[in-house]
Amino acid sequence: MSDFQVTVKEAGDVVVLTTDGYLNNIGGEKISEVCDSHMESGKNTFLINLEKTSVVNSIGVSILIEIIEKLQESNGKLAYCNLAPIVEKTFNIMGLTKYSTIYSTEEEGLSDLSS
């Protein structure tokens, strides 16, 4: 069973998800559930901190594409921070950076997303 964990906090209008573990289909679904719940409450800016997620697969990442699609309806934003080099490379190959932003740190992300 997956031991992927997501912790959530709000920093102003930004919902910060901090992941821990292998981002596979189950991990992707957990992220999606959190985002869906907050979107229902009117939030539309999400920053995913992947510092503790050094391994992903394309099924988990493809669920992020679903989130991007949903956020387009509210002109929302999805961003990520603290990506391992291979995770960033994977996101680039899959084109996620065309629709979302990668930040080096959570602080940088929050500063930009809150401005």
């Binding site: 069973m1 997956s2 292998y22 596979n24 189950i26 391994v55 992903v56 697969n57 394309s58 099924i59 990442v61 493809s62 669920i63 594409i65 679903e66 991007i68 699609e69 387009q72 391992a84 080099p85 291979i86 490379k89 994977t90 190959i93 899959m94 084109g95 996620l96 065309k98 629709y99």
Partner: protein, 137 residues
Amino acid sequence: MGKTPKVELSIPIIPDMELAATQTSEVVARHMGLSQEKSDEIKMALIEACINAFEHSKTEEGQVEINFVIDDNTLVIKVTDQGVGFDSNTVQIPKIEQKIKSDHKRGWGLQLIKELMDTVEFESTDEGTTVTMTKKK
């Protein structure tokens, strides 16, 4: 140790079992003196190859065979399943612009393998598929 050291691994079709393969690939990459970047690229490609093998499988009771061969300065990895096979020539290159509007967001595995490894070849019949990937030192 032989001239072309070989590591053979057989994994069951169980969720996350691809990570057993990546643990092995890390050790092999370290033995070869590959950079961390290349080791990580191999891990990611191997994850995708295993997931594809799992999905092609006719049953959940099968095994996926993984062979690592260190051939001089090149690592050759073969991932073999006894699944239903597929025609790699008919697989479209995924584009996120199309995926955003599509109900089918998946289908990135082959593209990732091709981008991350130096070479990729497929042999596939309705009795199974072997993906052969290489990474130079």
